[in-house]
């Protein structure tokens, strides 16, 4: 499976191969387990897990169990197996998944406790109730998201009139609260950049930059120009760096070589004819 994306791996098919592929309602919302052609392997696409609740809902579907009567022990084991798989796939397992794992394990142990025979019937709350409510609540919003998706799709098929003369007289933009903040931050960033520029102006002169490059070439033999340029702390310093390269080339102190088309450009000490040595 050379052409698999980083999110896909091949794992040996477990004994209980489930014939039915996972339901896919919205692209990439669910991991997909499908038989891979004639090999006896399963192709696992992790998809975009939107979070622990999504994974749980997926497992509940997968195991075909009643959401109101979840076999916690079985689902917890499955859940942990997936987290392990995600780790093996080098997918970053977000903290949210681990929190849920802890909750599941706790729930599992509570389910194992014998019920207090003296407790009044009404006080015996199913320890799973809260989780079930969260799952159902979450699933409702997933359905709502799909509804929004299909509305947006229809809306994209509807077009408004093009700009007309009167619009052009009014080139102003509607402004929201966060626009104020965004614009203010942009102004501050602009200001900061100018201040940095001021400081840089006093720091690195052309002569110093030439010396820096000369020393680097001398000590390392060759210098990757991209890396050299990346050291620049400001646009101005970058310009100075660029000019100093040109200057050393002009003075035949260095030569620029490229080992392959589109490869890195290297600066090397140059011989008398300006050839790289």
């Amino acid at each position: 499976m050379e052409d698999t994306s980083p999110n896909e791996i091949a794992i040996p098919a477990p004994a209980e191969v489930r014939a039915e592929p996972a339901q896919i309602s919205v692209a990439n919302s669910k991991p997909e387990i499908t038989p891979d052609g004639d090999t006896d392997q399963l192709k696992v696409t992790m998809g975009d897990f939107e979070g622990p609740l999504d994974l749980l809902l997926y497992l509940i579907r997968q195991e075909q169990v009643n959401i109101y009567d979840i076999p916690i022990a079985r689902i917890t084991d499955e859940y942990l197996r997936y987290l392990t798989l995600m780790k093996e796939l080098d997918l970053t397992v977000a903290g949210d998944f681990l929190v849920m794992a802890a909750q599941l394990i706790e729930l599992k142990s509570r389910m194992l406790l014998p019920r207090d025979p003296l407790a009044v019937e009404e006080e015996v709350l199913d320890p799973r109730a809260e989780l079930v409510n969260r799952l159902i609540e979450h699933e409702k919003f997933k359905a709502a998201a799909e509804m929004l998706w299909s509305r947006a799709t229809v809306e994209q098929a509807v077009f408004k009139r093009a700009e007309i003369e009167t619009d052009k007289n009014n080139p102003e933009v509607a402004v929201g609260l966060f626009d104020l903040l965004r614009v203010f931050q942009e102004i501050l960033a602009r200001q900061k950049e100018e201040i940095l520029l001021e400081i840089e102006r006093e720091e690195v002169s052309m002569a110093e930059m030439i010396d820096r490059l000369r020393n680097m070439v001398r000590s390392a033999g060759e210098v990757n120009l991209m890396l050299f340029f990346e050291r620049s702390k400001s646009r101005r310093e970058l310009v100075v760096a660029f000019l100093s390269v040109l200057e050393l080339v002009r003075m035949s102190e260095i030569a620029l070589v490229q080992n392959e088309t589109f490869g890195a450009i290297m600066a090397r000490a140059a011989g008398p004819e300006g050839q790289a040595i």
């Binding site: 939107e50 959401i67 997933k142 947006a152 098929a157 077009f159 700009e163 929201g176």
Partner: protein
């Protein structure tokens, strides 16, 4: 001053320029339904966003009910003649737009592509905000079970949601709600047009 306008209504030219308040205007001249309908249609056409019946009523200086009446008639007329355009109510206002069934030809003409859809994470976050507004980031986390900072930022950038003040609780977190753009982009008259979240219950519980 155009001759056409003068012929139609010699006085109003002066009144309008003064941008007078409602009270000052002599609303006495009777505007017929046909004229009202035509002006309302023209006004909706030039507007760069949906126009409310109230705005139209205020500008023409008639009762809002009269405007509503002609708009409903106009909608029926557009439909009856199989126009390529539709008059529709959206985001608490009225708008003229093309009909979805011609989207292929229109798109071919405009050489446009459908714009990028929202990611699933953003859509789910948007759904939570739409139904639970005003809602804070911690509350969204509670329902979704995942952090959604980048989804919220995307929604703010796309102007689909707006800040709705702060919640008077620990940390005074910012509350969010949907915007007018949300209604427009999802073709909604107002929030009440959203199906009730409980309607999704069947889908949710019905895994068996």
């Amino acid at each position: 001053m155009s001759k056409a306008a003068k012929a139609t209504n010699p006085e109003s030219a002066i009144e309008v320029d003064e941008a007078s308040s409602n009270d000052e205007i002599e609303g006495e001249r009777e505007i017929g339904d046909a004229e009202l309908k035509a002006i309302a249609e023209a006004m909706i056409f030039v507007a760069d966003e949906p126009v409310s019946a109230k705005t139209i009523a205020d500008v023409i200086k008639v009762e809002r009910d009269a405007v509503n009446k002609v708009l409903v008639e106009l909608v029926a007329e557009y439909d009856a003649r199989n126009s390529g355009l539709q008059l529709r109510e959206i985001a608490a206002g009225w708008q003229i737009a093309t009909r979805p069934e011609h989207h292929e030809q229109i798109r071919a003409y405009l050489k446009s592509r459908p714009s990028a859809k929202l990611s699933l994470a953003s859509l789910e976050t948007l759904a939570v905000i739409a139904y639970k507004q005003p809602v804070t980031v911690p509350e969204i986390l509670e329902i979704r079970g995942v952090q959604s900072p980048s989804a919220i930022k995307t929604l703010l950038d796309k102007r689909l949601i707006v800040a709705k003040g702060r919640k008077e609780t620990v940390g005074r977190p910012m509350m969010y709600g949907t915007s007018k753009d949300f209604l427009i982009q999802f073709g909604l008259k107002d929030l009440s047009e959203l199906p009730s979240i409980e309607d999704f219950q069947d889908l949710a519980g019905g895994s068996e």
